[in-house]
Symmetry: C2
Subunit: 290 residues, 2 copies
Protein backbone atom coordinates (compact mmCIF):
# COMPACT_ATOMS: atom_id res chain seq x y z
CA UNK A 1 0.00 0.00 0.00
CA UNK A 2 1.10 3.60 -0.54
CA UNK A 3 1.66 4.95 2.94
CA UNK A 4 2.73 8.38 4.12
CA UNK A 5 4.77 8.85 7.28
CA UNK A 6 5.33 12.19 8.99
CA UNK A 7 7.63 12.35 12.00
CA UNK A 8 10.76 10.23 11.96
CA UNK A 9 12.13 10.68 15.46
CA UNK A 10 13.29 7.68 17.50
CA UNK A 11 9.76 6.27 17.68
CA UNK A 12 8.51 7.20 14.22
CA UNK A 13 11.58 6.02 12.31
CA UNK A 14 11.40 2.58 13.92
CA UNK A 15 7.65 2.24 13.32
CA UNK A 16 7.86 3.37 9.69
CA UNK A 17 10.77 0.97 9.20
CA UNK A 18 8.53 -1.94 10.17
CA UNK A 19 5.97 -0.89 7.54
CA UNK A 20 8.76 -0.65 4.99
CA UNK A 21 10.00 -4.14 5.91
CA UNK A 22 6.45 -5.39 5.49
CA UNK A 23 6.61 -4.30 1.83
CA UNK A 24 4.75 -0.98 1.85
CA UNK A 25 5.73 1.98 -0.32
CA UNK A 26 6.58 4.96 1.89
CA UNK A 27 6.49 8.74 1.37
CA UNK A 28 8.19 10.44 4.30
CA UNK A 29 8.48 13.94 5.72
CA UNK A 30 10.25 15.23 8.80
CA UNK A 31 11.05 18.80 9.87
CA UNK A 32 14.70 17.76 10.24
CA UNK A 33 15.22 16.04 6.90
CA UNK A 34 18.36 14.10 7.96
CA UNK A 35 16.26 11.95 10.26
CA UNK A 36 14.55 10.40 7.22
CA UNK A 37 17.89 9.24 5.77
CA UNK A 38 17.64 5.67 7.06
CA UNK A 39 14.19 5.17 5.54
CA UNK A 40 15.12 6.87 2.26
CA UNK A 41 18.21 4.65 1.96
CA UNK A 42 15.86 1.67 2.13
CA UNK A 43 13.64 3.07 -0.65
CA UNK A 44 11.27 5.59 0.95
CA UNK A 45 10.44 8.69 -1.08
CA UNK A 46 11.25 12.04 0.56
CA UNK A 47 8.45 14.61 0.26
CA UNK A 48 9.05 18.32 0.91
CA UNK A 49 5.85 18.93 2.91
CA UNK A 50 3.04 17.11 4.71
CA UNK A 51 0.75 18.06 1.80
CA UNK A 52 3.11 16.35 -0.63
CA UNK A 53 3.19 13.23 1.54
CA UNK A 54 -0.60 13.12 1.54
CA UNK A 55 -0.76 13.68 -2.21
CA UNK A 56 1.16 10.44 -2.75
CA UNK A 57 -0.49 8.22 -0.11
CA UNK A 58 -3.70 6.37 0.64
CA UNK A 59 -3.08 6.48 4.39
CA UNK A 60 -0.89 8.93 6.31
CA UNK A 61 0.52 8.29 9.77
CA UNK A 62 1.86 11.14 11.90
CA UNK A 63 3.89 11.05 15.10
CA UNK A 64 5.43 14.39 16.03
CA UNK A 65 6.28 16.22 19.27
CA UNK A 66 3.64 18.55 20.59
CA UNK A 67 -0.01 19.39 19.80
CA UNK A 68 1.14 22.57 18.04
CA UNK A 69 3.23 20.38 15.71
CA UNK A 70 0.18 18.22 15.02
CA UNK A 71 -1.82 21.34 14.13
CA UNK A 72 0.90 22.54 11.77
CA UNK A 73 1.22 19.13 10.08
CA UNK A 74 -2.53 18.79 9.49
CA UNK A 75 -3.95 22.31 9.34
CA UNK A 76 -0.93 24.38 8.23
CA UNK A 77 -0.61 26.01 4.81
CA UNK A 78 1.33 23.00 3.52
CA UNK A 79 -0.45 20.60 5.79
CA UNK A 80 -2.11 17.26 5.06
CA UNK A 81 -5.55 18.79 4.65
CA UNK A 82 -4.24 21.21 2.00
CA UNK A 83 -3.32 18.24 -0.22
CA UNK A 84 -4.96 17.19 -3.47
CA UNK A 85 -4.95 13.48 -4.02
CA UNK A 86 -6.22 10.12 -3.02
CA UNK A 87 -5.49 10.12 0.73
CA UNK A 88 -8.48 8.63 2.52
CA UNK A 89 -7.33 8.04 6.09
CA UNK A 90 -5.05 9.87 8.51
CA UNK A 91 -3.81 8.42 11.79
CA UNK A 92 -2.21 10.67 14.41
CA UNK A 93 -0.05 8.69 16.84
CA UNK A 94 1.33 11.71 18.68
CA UNK A 95 0.24 11.98 22.31
CA UNK A 96 -1.87 15.10 21.88
CA UNK A 97 -5.10 16.67 23.07
CA UNK A 98 -8.42 14.84 22.76
CA UNK A 99 -10.00 18.08 21.57
CA UNK A 100 -7.52 18.36 18.70
CA UNK A 101 -8.30 14.74 17.79
CA UNK A 102 -11.95 15.74 17.45
CA UNK A 103 -11.03 18.80 15.38
CA UNK A 104 -8.98 16.64 13.02
CA UNK A 105 -11.80 14.13 12.65
CA UNK A 106 -14.25 16.93 11.77
CA UNK A 107 -11.78 18.47 9.31
CA UNK A 108 -11.14 15.06 7.74
CA UNK A 109 -14.84 14.36 7.32
CA UNK A 110 -15.36 17.70 5.57
CA UNK A 111 -12.86 16.45 2.99
CA UNK A 112 -14.43 13.00 2.67
CA UNK A 113 -11.59 11.53 4.70
CA UNK A 114 -11.38 9.80 8.09
CA UNK A 115 -9.12 10.40 11.05
CA UNK A 116 -8.02 8.18 13.93
CA UNK A 117 -6.24 9.22 17.12
CA UNK A 118 -3.89 6.38 18.00
CA UNK A 119 -1.28 7.32 20.61
CA UNK A 120 1.16 4.62 21.64
CA UNK A 121 2.88 3.39 24.77
CA UNK A 122 6.02 1.32 25.05
CA UNK A 123 8.79 3.75 24.23
CA UNK A 124 11.76 3.34 21.93
CA UNK A 125 12.12 -0.33 22.87
CA UNK A 126 8.48 -1.04 22.01
CA UNK A 127 8.86 0.80 18.70
CA UNK A 128 12.04 -1.10 17.82
CA UNK A 129 10.65 -4.49 18.80
CA UNK A 130 7.18 -3.82 17.33
CA UNK A 131 5.51 -4.42 20.69
CA UNK A 132 3.80 -1.05 21.16
CA UNK A 133 0.46 -0.67 22.90
CA UNK A 134 -1.86 1.41 20.69
CA UNK A 135 -5.04 3.08 21.97
CA UNK A 136 -7.36 4.10 19.19
CA UNK A 137 -10.22 6.56 18.89
CA UNK A 138 -12.38 7.29 15.84
CA UNK A 139 -14.85 5.38 13.68
CA UNK A 140 -14.79 1.67 14.38
CA UNK A 141 -14.98 0.67 10.70
CA UNK A 142 -11.96 2.86 9.95
CA UNK A 143 -10.11 1.32 12.90
CA UNK A 144 -10.79 -2.14 11.49
CA UNK A 145 -9.50 -1.11 8.10
CA UNK A 146 -6.26 0.26 9.56
CA UNK A 147 -5.77 -2.53 12.12
CA UNK A 148 -3.58 -4.77 9.91
CA UNK A 149 -1.14 -1.87 9.49
CA UNK A 150 -1.12 -1.10 13.23
CA UNK A 151 -0.36 -4.76 13.88
CA UNK A 152 2.87 -4.34 11.96
CA UNK A 153 4.39 -2.36 14.85
CA UNK A 154 2.00 -2.90 17.78
CA UNK A 155 1.30 -5.99 19.84
CA UNK A 156 -1.60 -4.73 21.99
CA UNK A 157 -4.10 -2.63 20.08
CA UNK A 158 -7.43 -1.50 21.50
CA UNK A 159 -10.33 0.37 20.00
CA UNK A 160 -11.48 2.71 22.77
CA UNK A 161 -14.35 4.70 21.21
CA UNK A 162 -15.10 7.81 19.15
CA UNK A 163 -12.54 10.45 18.14
CA UNK A 164 -10.51 11.52 21.17
CA UNK A 165 -10.97 8.23 23.06
CA UNK A 166 -7.47 7.08 22.12
CA UNK A 167 -6.00 10.28 23.53
CA UNK A 168 -8.14 10.04 26.67
CA UNK A 169 -6.88 6.49 27.23
CA UNK A 170 -3.31 7.67 26.82
CA UNK A 171 -4.03 10.38 29.40
CA UNK A 172 -5.26 7.68 31.82
CA UNK A 173 -1.96 5.90 31.11
CA UNK A 174 0.07 9.01 31.91
CA UNK A 175 -1.93 9.78 35.09
CA UNK A 176 -1.16 6.25 36.25
CA UNK A 177 2.54 6.69 35.49
CA UNK A 178 2.60 10.04 37.32
CA UNK A 179 1.48 8.51 40.61
CA UNK A 180 3.70 5.49 40.18
CA UNK A 181 6.79 7.64 39.50
CA UNK A 182 6.40 9.74 42.64
CA UNK A 183 6.07 6.47 44.56
CA UNK A 184 9.20 5.06 42.91
CA UNK A 185 11.36 8.12 43.50
CA UNK A 186 10.22 8.90 47.06
CA UNK A 187 10.56 5.25 48.01
CA UNK A 188 14.13 5.00 46.71
CA UNK A 189 15.08 8.35 48.25
CA UNK A 190 13.74 7.17 51.61
CA UNK A 191 15.67 3.90 51.27
CA UNK A 192 18.90 5.73 50.48
CA UNK A 193 18.50 8.14 53.40
CA UNK A 194 17.83 5.25 55.76
CA UNK A 195 21.07 3.62 54.67
CA UNK A 196 19.47 0.71 52.84
CA UNK A 197 20.91 -0.87 49.70
CA UNK A 198 18.58 0.57 47.03
CA UNK A 199 18.97 -2.34 44.62
CA UNK A 200 18.24 -4.85 47.41
CA UNK A 201 15.12 -2.83 48.22
CA UNK A 202 14.01 -2.90 44.56
CA UNK A 203 14.62 -6.65 44.43
CA UNK A 204 12.38 -7.39 47.40
CA UNK A 205 9.59 -4.81 46.98
CA UNK A 206 9.46 -4.86 43.17
CA UNK A 207 8.06 -8.38 42.95
CA UNK A 208 5.06 -8.03 45.28
CA UNK A 209 2.04 -5.81 45.78
CA UNK A 210 4.20 -2.68 45.43
CA UNK A 211 5.64 -3.84 42.13
CA UNK A 212 5.39 -1.97 38.86
CA UNK A 213 7.10 -1.70 35.49
CA UNK A 214 8.57 1.60 36.70
CA UNK A 215 10.22 0.33 39.91
CA UNK A 216 11.63 -2.71 38.13
CA UNK A 217 12.87 -0.92 35.00
CA UNK A 218 13.56 2.67 36.05
CA UNK A 219 14.56 1.90 39.66
CA UNK A 220 17.78 0.14 38.58
CA UNK A 221 18.60 3.11 36.31
CA UNK A 222 18.41 5.38 39.38
CA UNK A 223 20.73 3.01 41.25
CA UNK A 224 23.22 3.21 38.35
CA UNK A 225 22.84 6.99 38.00
CA UNK A 226 21.39 6.65 34.48
CA UNK A 227 19.05 9.59 33.97
CA UNK A 228 19.27 9.58 30.17
CA UNK A 229 17.57 6.34 29.10
CA UNK A 230 13.83 6.60 28.90
CA UNK A 231 10.97 8.98 28.25
CA UNK A 232 11.79 12.72 28.15
CA UNK A 233 10.70 14.82 31.12
CA UNK A 234 9.52 17.62 28.82
CA UNK A 235 7.17 15.29 26.97
CA UNK A 236 5.80 13.93 30.23
CA UNK A 237 5.21 17.47 31.49
CA UNK A 238 3.30 18.19 28.27
CA UNK A 239 1.17 15.04 28.71
CA UNK A 240 0.33 15.78 32.34
CA UNK A 241 -0.56 19.34 31.36
CA UNK A 242 -3.04 18.03 28.78
CA UNK A 243 -4.54 15.58 31.29
CA UNK A 244 -4.98 18.34 33.88
CA UNK A 245 -6.64 20.61 31.31
CA UNK A 246 -8.99 17.86 30.16
CA UNK A 247 -9.85 17.03 33.77
CA UNK A 248 -10.40 20.69 34.66
CA UNK A 249 -12.73 21.03 31.66
CA UNK A 250 -14.93 18.42 33.42
CA UNK A 251 -14.54 20.07 36.85
CA UNK A 252 -12.50 17.06 37.85
CA UNK A 253 -9.94 17.67 40.60
CA UNK A 254 -6.96 15.27 40.54
CA UNK A 255 -4.72 16.35 43.42
CA UNK A 256 -2.12 13.62 42.92
CA UNK A 257 -1.61 14.42 39.26
CA UNK A 258 -1.44 18.15 40.01
CA UNK A 259 1.31 17.60 42.58
CA UNK A 260 3.36 15.34 40.32
CA UNK A 261 3.01 17.86 37.47
CA UNK A 262 4.38 20.57 39.76
CA UNK A 263 7.27 18.35 40.83
CA UNK A 264 8.15 17.62 37.20
CA UNK A 265 8.08 21.34 36.43
CA UNK A 266 10.75 21.56 39.13
CA UNK A 267 12.66 18.76 37.40
CA UNK A 268 12.59 20.86 34.21
CA UNK A 269 13.58 23.97 36.16
CA UNK A 270 16.69 22.10 37.30
CA UNK A 271 17.65 21.59 33.67
CA UNK A 272 16.48 18.00 33.23
CA UNK A 273 13.83 18.59 30.54
CA UNK A 274 15.66 16.32 28.10
CA UNK A 275 16.47 13.75 30.77
CA UNK A 276 14.32 10.69 31.41
CA UNK A 277 11.42 10.64 33.88
CA UNK A 278 13.43 8.94 36.65
CA UNK A 279 15.22 12.31 37.00
CA UNK A 280 12.32 13.17 39.33
CA UNK A 281 14.47 11.83 42.14
CA UNK A 282 17.05 14.54 41.42
CA UNK A 283 14.45 17.26 41.97
CA UNK A 284 13.31 15.54 45.18
CA UNK A 285 16.92 15.47 46.33
CA UNK A 286 17.30 19.15 45.50
CA UNK A 287 14.12 19.88 47.45
CA UNK A 288 15.78 18.12 50.37
CA UNK A 289 19.00 20.08 50.21
CA UNK A 290 21.15 17.76 48.06
CA UNK B 1 10.92 -27.06 67.34
CA UNK B 2 8.89 -25.42 70.12
CA UNK B 3 7.56 -22.25 68.54
CA UNK B 4 5.41 -19.49 70.01
CA UNK B 5 2.96 -17.55 67.87
CA UNK B 6 1.25 -14.35 68.98
CA UNK B 7 -1.33 -12.77 66.70
CA UNK B 8 -3.68 -15.06 64.80
CA UNK B 9 -5.54 -12.68 62.52
CA UNK B 10 -6.01 -13.53 58.84
CA UNK B 11 -2.27 -13.29 58.19
CA UNK B 12 -0.93 -14.79 61.40
CA UNK B 13 -3.27 -17.78 61.49
CA UNK B 14 -2.29 -18.80 57.96
CA UNK B 15 1.44 -18.36 58.62
CA UNK B 16 1.34 -20.27 61.93
CA UNK B 17 -0.65 -23.00 60.20
CA UNK B 18 2.21 -23.55 57.74
CA UNK B 19 4.65 -23.99 60.66
CA UNK B 20 2.24 -26.45 62.23
CA UNK B 21 1.97 -28.40 58.97
CA UNK B 22 5.78 -28.49 58.84
CA UNK B 23 5.73 -30.40 62.13
CA UNK B 24 6.50 -27.72 64.70
CA UNK B 25 4.95 -27.63 68.18
CA UNK B 26 3.01 -24.39 68.65
CA UNK B 27 2.07 -22.29 71.68
CA UNK B 28 -0.40 -19.62 70.64
CA UNK B 29 -1.86 -16.44 72.07
CA UNK B 30 -4.28 -13.94 70.61
CA UNK B 31 -6.22 -11.11 72.26
CA UNK B 32 -9.42 -12.57 70.82
CA UNK B 33 -9.02 -16.19 71.87
CA UNK B 34 -11.55 -17.59 69.35
CA UNK B 35 -9.21 -16.74 66.49
CA UNK B 36 -6.78 -19.41 67.73
CA UNK B 37 -9.43 -22.15 67.50
CA UNK B 38 -8.30 -23.48 64.11
CA UNK B 39 -4.69 -23.87 65.25
CA UNK B 40 -5.69 -25.36 68.63
CA UNK B 41 -7.93 -27.88 66.86
CA UNK B 42 -4.85 -29.02 64.95
CA UNK B 43 -2.83 -29.47 68.17
CA UNK B 44 -1.50 -26.02 69.14
CA UNK B 45 -1.39 -25.22 72.86
CA UNK B 46 -3.33 -22.13 73.97
CA UNK B 47 -1.38 -19.89 76.36
CA UNK B 48 -3.13 -17.20 78.44
CA UNK B 49 -0.50 -14.47 77.89
CA UNK B 50 2.50 -13.56 75.71
CA UNK B 51 4.73 -14.34 78.73
CA UNK B 52 3.28 -17.86 78.88
CA UNK B 53 3.86 -18.34 75.15
CA UNK B 54 7.50 -17.32 75.58
CA UNK B 55 7.92 -19.58 78.62
CA UNK B 56 7.10 -22.60 76.44
CA UNK B 57 9.01 -21.68 73.27
CA UNK B 58 12.51 -21.40 71.84
CA UNK B 59 11.45 -18.88 69.24
CA UNK B 60 8.43 -16.55 69.35
CA UNK B 61 6.86 -14.91 66.29
CA UNK B 62 4.51 -11.96 66.65
CA UNK B 63 2.22 -10.33 64.09
CA UNK B 64 -0.32 -7.98 65.61
CA UNK B 65 -2.05 -4.75 64.56
CA UNK B 66 -0.39 -1.54 65.62
CA UNK B 67 2.93 -0.51 67.23
CA UNK B 68 1.10 -0.04 70.57
CA UNK B 69 0.04 -3.71 70.36
CA UNK B 70 3.65 -4.72 69.71
CA UNK B 71 4.75 -2.76 72.80
CA UNK B 72 2.10 -4.45 74.92
CA UNK B 73 2.98 -7.92 73.66
CA UNK B 74 6.72 -7.48 74.31
CA UNK B 75 7.05 -4.92 77.09
CA UNK B 76 3.71 -5.25 78.93
CA UNK B 77 3.31 -6.71 82.44
CA UNK B 78 2.53 -10.12 80.96
CA UNK B 79 4.64 -9.56 77.89
CA UNK B 80 7.29 -11.74 76.27
CA UNK B 81 10.16 -10.04 78.07
CA UNK B 82 8.50 -10.76 81.45
CA UNK B 83 8.78 -14.50 80.79
CA UNK B 84 11.02 -16.99 82.54
CA UNK B 85 12.14 -19.80 80.29
CA UNK B 86 14.23 -20.87 77.39
CA UNK B 87 13.10 -18.44 74.68
CA UNK B 88 16.15 -17.25 72.75
CA UNK B 89 14.82 -15.45 69.70
CA UNK B 90 11.84 -13.18 69.02
CA UNK B 91 10.69 -12.16 65.54
CA UNK B 92 8.20 -9.32 65.11
CA UNK B 93 6.45 -9.49 61.75
CA UNK B 94 4.03 -6.64 62.41
CA UNK B 95 4.55 -3.58 60.22
CA UNK B 96 5.70 -1.28 63.00
CA UNK B 97 8.16 1.53 63.71
CA UNK B 98 11.88 1.06 63.04
CA UNK B 99 12.58 2.77 66.38
CA UNK B 100 10.48 0.21 68.25
CA UNK B 101 12.38 -2.56 66.42
CA UNK B 102 15.60 -1.10 67.85
CA UNK B 103 14.09 -0.85 71.32
CA UNK B 104 13.05 -4.50 71.18
CA UNK B 105 16.50 -5.59 70.02
CA UNK B 106 18.11 -3.70 72.94
CA UNK B 107 15.60 -5.17 75.41
CA UNK B 108 16.18 -8.65 74.00
CA UNK B 109 19.95 -8.35 74.31
CA UNK B 110 19.65 -7.28 77.95
CA UNK B 111 17.96 -10.65 78.55
CA UNK B 112 20.50 -12.63 76.54
CA UNK B 113 18.00 -12.96 73.69
CA UNK B 114 17.91 -11.74 70.09
CA UNK B 115 15.25 -9.90 68.15
CA UNK B 116 14.50 -9.59 64.44
CA UNK B 117 12.12 -7.18 62.72
CA UNK B 118 10.62 -9.06 59.79
CA UNK B 119 7.56 -7.35 58.29
CA UNK B 120 5.92 -9.06 55.36
CA UNK B 121 4.27 -8.13 52.09
CA UNK B 122 1.86 -10.21 50.02
CA UNK B 123 -1.38 -10.00 51.98
CA UNK B 124 -3.81 -12.76 52.89
CA UNK B 125 -3.19 -14.56 49.60
CA UNK B 126 0.58 -14.58 50.16
CA UNK B 127 0.08 -15.84 53.72
CA UNK B 128 -2.28 -18.60 52.59
CA UNK B 129 -0.08 -19.70 49.69
CA UNK B 130 3.19 -19.29 51.64
CA UNK B 131 4.53 -16.83 49.09
CA UNK B 132 5.11 -13.82 51.36
CA UNK B 133 7.97 -11.39 50.85
CA UNK B 134 9.82 -10.94 54.15
CA UNK B 135 12.20 -8.03 54.86
CA UNK B 136 14.44 -8.69 57.80
CA UNK B 137 16.48 -6.49 60.13
CA UNK B 138 18.67 -7.56 63.05
CA UNK B 139 21.83 -9.62 63.54
CA UNK B 140 22.79 -11.52 60.41
CA UNK B 141 23.69 -14.72 62.29
CA UNK B 142 20.28 -14.70 63.95
CA UNK B 143 18.63 -14.14 60.57
CA UNK B 144 20.45 -17.18 59.19
CA UNK B 145 19.32 -19.28 62.11
CA UNK B 146 15.67 -18.29 61.65
CA UNK B 147 15.71 -18.41 57.82
CA UNK B 148 14.56 -22.06 57.51
CA UNK B 149 11.44 -21.18 59.52
CA UNK B 150 10.75 -18.04 57.46
CA UNK B 151 11.03 -20.16 54.33
CA UNK B 152 8.07 -22.20 55.54
CA UNK B 153 5.71 -19.30 54.75
CA UNK B 154 7.78 -16.90 52.64
CA UNK B 155 9.09 -17.21 49.10
CA UNK B 156 11.21 -14.06 48.87
CA UNK B 157 13.20 -13.32 52.00
CA UNK B 158 15.86 -10.63 52.24
CA UNK B 159 18.25 -9.66 54.99
CA UNK B 160 18.31 -5.85 54.87
CA UNK B 161 20.66 -4.84 57.73
CA UNK B 162 20.72 -4.10 61.45
CA UNK B 163 17.64 -3.85 63.68
CA UNK B 164 15.03 -1.59 62.08
CA UNK B 165 16.20 -2.24 58.50
CA UNK B 166 13.32 -4.66 57.89
CA UNK B 167 10.81 -2.01 58.97
CA UNK B 168 12.55 0.67 56.90
CA UNK B 169 12.32 -1.58 53.84
CA UNK B 170 8.62 -2.13 54.52
CA UNK B 171 8.21 1.66 54.73
CA UNK B 172 9.86 1.98 51.28
CA UNK B 173 7.34 -0.62 50.10
CA UNK B 174 4.40 1.37 51.49
CA UNK B 175 5.70 4.67 50.07
CA UNK B 176 5.84 3.00 46.67
CA UNK B 177 2.29 1.68 47.04
CA UNK B 178 1.04 5.11 48.14
CA UNK B 179 2.13 6.79 44.92
CA UNK B 180 0.95 3.88 42.81
CA UNK B 181 -2.51 3.89 44.40
CA UNK B 182 -3.15 7.58 43.76
CA UNK B 183 -2.14 6.93 40.15
CA UNK B 184 -4.49 3.94 39.91
CA UNK B 185 -7.49 5.71 41.38
CA UNK B 186 -7.09 9.06 39.61
CA UNK B 187 -6.47 7.28 36.34
CA UNK B 188 -9.63 5.16 36.61
CA UNK B 189 -11.69 8.13 37.80
CA UNK B 190 -10.49 10.14 34.79
CA UNK B 191 -11.33 7.23 32.49
CA UNK B 192 -14.83 6.93 33.92
CA UNK B 193 -15.52 10.66 33.65
CA UNK B 194 -14.34 10.65 30.04
CA UNK B 195 -16.81 7.89 29.25
CA UNK B 196 -14.21 5.18 28.66
CA UNK B 197 -14.73 1.53 29.55
CA UNK B 198 -12.60 1.25 32.72
CA UNK B 199 -11.82 -2.44 32.26
CA UNK B 200 -10.76 -1.88 28.66
CA UNK B 201 -8.47 0.89 29.89
CA UNK B 202 -6.95 -1.42 32.53
CA UNK B 203 -6.43 -4.10 29.89
CA UNK B 204 -4.46 -1.84 27.58
CA UNK B 205 -2.50 0.34 30.05
CA UNK B 206 -1.88 -2.34 32.68
CA UNK B 207 0.50 -4.36 30.53
CA UNK B 208 2.95 -1.64 29.53
CA UNK B 209 5.11 1.04 31.12
CA UNK B 210 2.20 2.19 33.31
CA UNK B 211 1.57 -1.32 34.59
CA UNK B 212 1.68 -2.36 38.23
CA UNK B 213 0.39 -5.06 40.54
CA UNK B 214 -2.10 -2.49 41.84
CA UNK B 215 -3.70 -1.52 38.51
CA UNK B 216 -3.93 -5.16 37.42
CA UNK B 217 -5.24 -6.57 40.72
CA UNK B 218 -7.07 -3.72 42.44
CA UNK B 219 -8.25 -1.94 39.27
CA UNK B 220 -10.66 -4.77 38.35
CA UNK B 221 -12.02 -4.70 41.94
CA UNK B 222 -12.87 -1.02 41.43
CA UNK B 223 -14.62 -1.90 38.17
CA UNK B 224 -16.68 -4.55 40.01
CA UNK B 225 -17.38 -2.24 42.98
CA UNK B 226 -15.46 -4.54 45.36
CA UNK B 227 -14.03 -2.32 48.10
CA UNK B 228 -13.76 -5.07 50.71
CA UNK B 229 -11.10 -7.45 49.37
CA UNK B 230 -7.58 -6.34 50.17
CA UNK B 231 -5.47 -4.43 52.66
CA UNK B 232 -7.32 -2.33 55.27
CA UNK B 233 -7.26 1.44 54.81
CA UNK B 234 -6.68 1.97 58.57
CA UNK B 235 -3.54 -0.17 58.49
CA UNK B 236 -2.25 1.64 55.42
CA UNK B 237 -2.88 5.01 57.12
CA UNK B 238 -0.87 3.75 60.11
CA UNK B 239 2.00 2.65 57.85
CA UNK B 240 2.14 5.94 55.95
CA UNK B 241 2.07 7.80 59.27
CA UNK B 242 5.12 5.84 60.45
CA UNK B 243 6.95 6.47 57.16
CA UNK B 244 6.24 10.20 57.35
CA UNK B 245 7.47 10.33 60.96
CA UNK B 246 10.64 8.42 60.12
CA UNK B 247 11.26 10.69 57.13
CA UNK B 248 10.61 13.84 59.16
CA UNK B 249 13.09 12.62 61.76
CA UNK B 250 15.72 12.81 59.00
CA UNK B 251 14.44 16.18 57.72
CA UNK B 252 13.26 14.37 54.63
CA UNK B 253 10.31 15.97 52.82
CA UNK B 254 8.20 13.53 50.80
CA UNK B 255 5.40 15.60 49.28
CA UNK B 256 3.77 12.74 47.36
CA UNK B 257 3.51 10.51 50.41
CA UNK B 258 2.19 13.40 52.51
CA UNK B 259 -0.58 14.08 50.00
CA UNK B 260 -1.60 10.42 49.71
CA UNK B 261 -1.63 10.13 53.52
CA UNK B 262 -4.02 13.10 53.68
CA UNK B 263 -6.25 11.60 50.99
CA UNK B 264 -6.42 8.30 52.89
CA UNK B 265 -7.34 10.17 56.07
CA UNK B 266 -10.27 11.45 54.02
CA UNK B 267 -11.06 7.86 53.00
CA UNK B 268 -11.21 6.99 56.71
CA UNK B 269 -13.29 10.07 57.44
CA UNK B 270 -15.84 8.79 54.94
CA UNK B 271 -16.15 5.61 56.98
CA UNK B 272 -13.95 3.33 54.89
CA UNK B 273 -11.26 2.56 57.50
CA UNK B 274 -12.05 -1.16 57.36
CA UNK B 275 -12.39 -1.16 53.58
CA UNK B 276 -9.54 -2.05 51.24
CA UNK B 277 -7.09 0.50 49.85
CA UNK B 278 -8.85 0.79 46.47
CA UNK B 279 -11.56 2.69 48.40
CA UNK B 280 -9.34 5.73 47.74
CA UNK B 281 -11.35 6.24 44.57
CA UNK B 282 -14.51 6.73 46.68
CA UNK B 283 -12.89 9.62 48.54
CA UNK B 284 -11.71 11.10 45.24
CA UNK B 285 -15.26 10.83 43.93
CA UNK B 286 -16.59 12.50 47.08
CA UNK B 287 -14.01 15.27 46.61
CA UNK B 288 -15.46 15.72 43.15
CA UNK B 289 -19.06 15.92 44.24
CA UNK B 290 -20.15 12.27 43.82
Amino acid sequence: MKIGWIGTGVMGAAMAGHLQNAGHELSVYNRTREKTAGLVAKGAQWAPSPAEVAAHSEIVFTIVGFPRDVEEVYLGKEGIFAAQGSCRIVVDMTTSTPSLAKTLEAAAQKRGMHSLDAPVSGGDIGAREATLAIMVGGRKAVFEEVLPLLEVFGSRISYMGEAGAGQHTKMANQILIAGTMVGVCESLLYAERQGLDQQAVIDIIGKGAAGSWSINNLGPRIVKGDYKSGFFVEHFVKDMGIALQEAAALNLSLPGLALVHQLYLAVKAHGYGRSATQALILALKALNGD
